[in-house]
């Protein structure tokens, strides 16, 4: 029998019978003798023979760890004497046992087989039930656990052959990595543990503490968990300059247990520069004293800036690596995008349970965003994966973002790409039902194995991340992100799938943050105000007066402006205030209707449903707006009245006309004031509504509607007092304009302020309006300093500047001298003066009394006379200035061909004075017909007309009203503006 065989038998044998072995410990010193003795002693028992053999071999075995090489080691390890002895023992044993060896062997084999099966049973039993050993916990000095365990192992091996008192009888001893300072011992008795740890220095407590098996199982199973060093996960540095700093894993090398961590560098650039300088100095001078002390203070964590470094002349090199792209290298440290890329040992960072604080995240994220701004598209660069490595990958690693009903796709494992619907969600697993009809089972997955799945067109809501709370429609789905069209901003936003959830609701966005709410008017700079158009997580999108949108942090937003009570005048000089419905009549938002949110100086912030940008909020000048429900036709009336007045004045003399007006005004104010009366609105969008007049001016009344308590401004002419039952054909009586003087109400000079609007009208509707009006302001303020303190936002005041009682009269001359002034405007005589009559704001009174202290406002007789007197020459002046062009130009105009008296249409203007016409009924075409041979067909009311002379040549419009003055009021197609032209200035268009 070979030794090998023998030994393998023995080994398995003694495994079972170690206790027997202990019995013979004393005799073990001399294997030979013992063997012999035993043999004699138990000769009859074959079992024991093997036991002896086992014992001898046990010696060998215990001394040599390698049982395979037992024989070789045997010879090596034993001294020659010992070897001889053992050899003899072997021989003796063999010779003694030879006679029944085979028999014994077979028996042994039998037993071995039995034992084997026993063993298996035993194992199963053990697996199920508690082991017979107990577990003891020892406290060890930190960091020495492993060495302690190793030394115990060594001690056990050393003492194995020593006196039994020194033997280590514990079965195992473990030092788990995650429980520093603790060592767990497996032993049968506490005494064994106590004996084992005798004389060991690294223990803190020598009292073993019994530990339940449950804990041990936990420790063992916890150990099996492998910490994954995934890219993008957060770590904290344990030691060194960056102690406790947060970092993000960029890459890891598991075989070398090294990870590259992205950190915010803590650089003391001046110090580095200094040290380099010192070094140079040292090199040149050989001075050794200058070795700088190690800095104790910790430099501030700041982003790395290559420019800054270069300024300090610190050597900086660029290096391109395959894994990280272009890096800056300084002092052997690598920098990229402002971050420090440093290699750490796995042991020197904390990986588990690292949750970055919000500030830390912010820093990382800010930088990332900045990077975007600077480079434009760094996402497409080489380190695309790096920069797009989710910045917030594991803030809430445990948070389960799935919910029942979500459509998911399996992202890893055998069932990858399986589509399923989430059935239920438990702590750390998600039960899903595959969409495939053939698979009926539900599967449990770990959340990280699943990925939310969205189709293009799904309506989703962001439940996390920067855009939390926003909803939108999925436009496209990229690898890592979903592009949404936000409902709120109508812009594309990119969201990670895990932050999304299908939903049907439409988010309105957050409504408030801090003290601020959506649509608040806030101060965003010393001279800048804006309206909050969107509330984000910690910032606002603010639209300022210039129409620019900026993102402003909560902290940077200034005080709220409360100016709900401000009023201003719109283009038709209706008083408007916040909450009013207006229509934009000019500018880029022309045609849009909306509600005034705020009034700031001469800007209105409008909220409109027709506008999509900025959540429907836009900014527009007051001059471009028209109050809905205000009198849109005001201009007509004004002009007609003016003309009427003028003709009257021509007849009776300006003084008298004015006098009558003034008188009427006084009366009207006293007697016919509808204030606090219940009135019915006769026209406009609020037609038929009943309300109480809350305020009234000469032209306008503010009516509080009974239906919704809303105050609207209505032309005074458009209200019906309860006692006057639709008696006056006020609104559209064609002969109204000829009868202005008849009824006091209409004759009422309290209406004459409408005429005051005339300059305003021309201001607002002219393309040059702003320029002109600003000229107004500037010139007026320069000519009259006393007016400087007037509030610009009260247009009434502005107009009162031209009051004759103030020394601003020369301004009128100025204005007429303006090159931008169009002849059409001049054709509205009295315009510049009429505003002197009155004006609806109290400022009139103040101005009035300021400058003419002798006059009593309640008797406006005299003052009204005064301005009217110079009016006449002025109107003449206006007409004189107009140089009417002799020829007109334009096509599709209906003319009468004088030669045959037939109607014709102008086809083309061949020269300045001739044109090509086509006779309408005969279709004859005449070339080069001189304009003197043609008569323009006078258009009728509501005819489509085109301007054929003057600056606005080519503009089309609808003839609104023809007056007897040979002028017509045309509603322009371009801006629905009303303009007054002489008959010769427009021609009838043929469609």
């Amino acid at each position: 029998m070979s030794d090998d065989e023998h030994e393998s038998l023995v080994e398995s044998y003694d495994e079972e019978d170690e206790e027997d072995l202990e019995e013979y410990e004393d005799e073990e010193e001399d294997g030979f003798k013992v063997g012999g003795g035993n043999q004699k002693k138990f000769k009859s028992k074959t079992d024991n023979i093997f036991e002896d053999e086992a014992e001898i071999d046990e010696d060998d075995d215990e001394e040599d760890e390698d049982d395979e090489d037992a024989d070789d080691d045997f010879e090596e390890h034993y001294g020659s004497n010992q070897k001889e002895k053992d050899q003899r023992a072997y021989n003796a044993l063999r010779s003694n046992n030879n006679y029944n060896y085979d028999e014994v062997l077979s028996k042994f084999e039998q037993k071995y087989a039995n034992q084997d099966s026993d063993h298996e049973e035993y194992e199963e039993y053990e697996e199920e039930d508690i082991p017979k050993q107990s577990y003891w916990r020892l406290k060890c000095r930190l960091g020495e656990e492993k060495m302690f365990v190793a030394s115990m192992m060594q001690k056990m091996l050393n003492n194995q052959r020593g006196p039994p008192a020194d033997r280590i009888l514990v079965k195992s001893m473990m030092a788990p990595q995650h429980l520093p300072g603790h060592v767990y011992v497996e032993a049968e008795r506490e005494v064994h543990v106590r004996n084992a740890i005798k004389g060991v220095t690294s223990l803190v407590s020598f009292t073993p503490i019994l530990t339940p098996l449950k804990d041990i199982i936990e420790i063992l199973s916890a150990n099996k968990k492998n910490v994954d060093l995934q890219k993008g996960s957060w770590v904290r540095i344990k030691l060194g300059k960056y102690k406790a700093d947060i970092g993000q894993i960029v890459s890891s090398d598991s075989s070398r247990s090294r990870i590259t961590v992205k950190l915010i560098p803590r650089l003391d650039l001046p110090a580095i520069a200094q040290s380099i300088k010192d070094k140079e100095d040292k090199d040149s001078q050989g001075d050794k004293n200058k070795s700088g002390k190690r800095k104790r203070t910790r430099p501030q964590a700041r982003f790395f800036n290559p420019d800054e470094v270069e300024k300090l002349k610190i050597p900086l090199t660029r290096q391109t690596t395959a894994s990280h792209g272009v890096l800056f290298v300084m002092n052997n440290e690598k920098y990229k995008d402002g971050f420090l890329y440093k290699i750490f040992r796995t042991q020197s960072v904390i990986v588990d349970g690292v949750v970055p604080s919000l500030e830390e995240l912010q820093k990382f994220q800010d930088r990332e965003e900045k990077q975007l701004d600077e480079d434009g598209n760094p996402m497409l660069d080489v380190p695309a994966e790096l920069s797009s490595a989710p910045i917030l990958p594991r803030i809430l690693p445990k948070a389960n973002h799935f919910s029942k009903g979500d459509t998911v796709r399996v992202a890893q494992g055998d069932l990858k790409n399986l589509m399923a619907i989430v059935e239920s969600v438990e702590d750390d697993k998600v039960l899903i039902v595959p969409l495939d009809q053939n698979i009926k089972d539900t599967f449990a997955f770990k959340p990280y194995e699943l990925q939310k799945y969205f189709k293009v067109g799904d309506h989703v809501k962001a439940i996390g991340g920067r855009y939390e709370g926003e909803t939108g429609m999925v436009l496209r789905v990229d690898e890592l992100q979903v592009v949404l069209l936000s409902d709120l901003t109508m812009t594309e936003i990119k969201v990670k799938p895990q932050d999304l959830q299908e939903c049907t609701e439409v988010a309105t966005g957050r409504l408030e943050l801090g003290n601020y709410e959506l649509h608040d008017l806030v101060q965003i700079g010393p001279h800048k105000v804006g309206v909050i158009t969107k509330v984000e997580r910690d910032s606002f999108k603010i639209l300022d007066e210039g129409g620019n949108v900026s993102t402003v942090k909560l902290q940077e937003v200034g005080s709220k402006r409360r100016n709900k009570s401000f009023t201003t005048l719109d283009t038709h000089h209706n008083t408007i205030q916040s909450g009013d419905l207006i229509e934009v009549v000019d500018g880029s938002y022309k045609g849009k209707q909306g509600t005034i949110l705020h009034i700031s100086r001469n800007f209105l912030f409008i909220k409109s449903k027709d506008v999509f940008e900025n959540g429907g909020v836009f900014v527009v000048r007051t001059q471009y707006c028209s109050l809905l429900g205000g009198n849109k036709n005001k201009q007509n009336n004004i002009q007609q009245q003016q003309q009427q007045n003028q003709s009257q004045r021509g007849g009776f003399g300006g003084g008298r006309g004015g006098g009558r007006g003034g008188h009427g005004g006084g009366r009207g104010r006293r007697e016919d004031s509808p204030l606090h009366k219940v009135v019915t609105i006769k026209s406009g969008p609020w037609k038929g509504y009943v309300g109480i007049v809350k305020e009234c001016t000469e032209t306008m009344v503010q009516v509080e509607l009974q239906t919704n308590s809303k105050r609207i401004n209505v032309m005074r002419a458009n209200i019906l007092l309860p006692h006057e039952r639709a008696q006056q054909p006020i609104s559209n009586n064609s002969d109204w304009e000829f009868n202005v003087g008849r009824t006091p109400m209409r004759e009422d000079p309290s209406q004459t302020p409408m005429r005051m609007n005339t300059p305003a009208r021309s201001n607002n509707h002219d393309p040059w309006a702003m320029r002109e009006s600003s000229d107004y302001y500037s010139s007026s303020s320069s000519s009259n300093n006393s007016m400087n303190n007037n509030d610009d936002t009260t247009p009434g005041t502005n107009y009162s500047l031209y009051s004759p009682y103030t020394p601003t009269t020369p301004l009128d001359g100025n204005r007429h001298g303006e090159s931008t002034y169009t002849p059409y405007d001049r054709s509205t005589p009295m315009g510049s003066y009429s505003h002197n009559y009155d004006n609806p704001t109290p400022s009139y009174l103040s101005n009035y009394s300021d400058h003419t202290p002798h006059e009593i406002p309640s008797s406006p007789y005299t003052p009204h006379n005064i301005p009217q007197t110079p009016a006449t020459p002025n109107s003449g002046e206006d007409h004189d200035e107009e140089v009417e062009q002799p020829f007109w130009s334009g096509t599709n105009i209906e003319v009468i061909y004088k030669d045959n008296g037939k109607h014709a249409v102008v086809l083309a203007n061949t020269t300045e004075s001739t044109c090509k016409i086509e006779i309408l009924d005969t279709k004859e075409v005449f070339d080069n017909v001189h304009q003197s041979q043609l008569t323009l067909v006078s258009p009728l009311k509501k005819d489509h007309v085109v301007i054929i002379k003057g600056k606005l040549t080519g503009y089309t419009g609808t003839l609104f009203i023809l007056t007897e003055e040979n002028t017509g009021i045309i509603k322009m197609d371009s801006n629905y503006d009303f303009k007054v032209f002489k008959m010769s200035y427009f021609g009838k268009l043929i469609r």
Partner: protein, 73 residues
């Protein structure tokens, strides 16, 4: 048994912990042939009596040689 944990390595197959030098000299006592080792292990357990240790059984190392083993790799 490794004299120190500097440059200690664990056998990838069985988890036996020894120094790199020891591995070079003797290889792994449990696993035959040349096998790979790793530095990347955590926690150690000294299995002194593999046959009788319940933990060893649990870790399926009851047939291995006594020695230091890695708890996790």
């Amino acid at each position: 048994v490794p004299p120190s944990f500097k440059q200690s390595r664990a056998c990838v197959d069985c988890g036996l912990v020894k120094t790199a030098q020891q591995f070079d000299e003797n290889g792994c006592e449990n696993c035959e042939g040349t096998n790979s080792t790793t530095q990347n292990f955590e926690g150690v357990i000294a299995i002194m009596n593999p046959g009788q240790s319940w933990i060893a059984r649990r870790m399926r190392s009851e047939k291995k040689v006594p020695g230091l083993y890695a708890l996790s790799m």
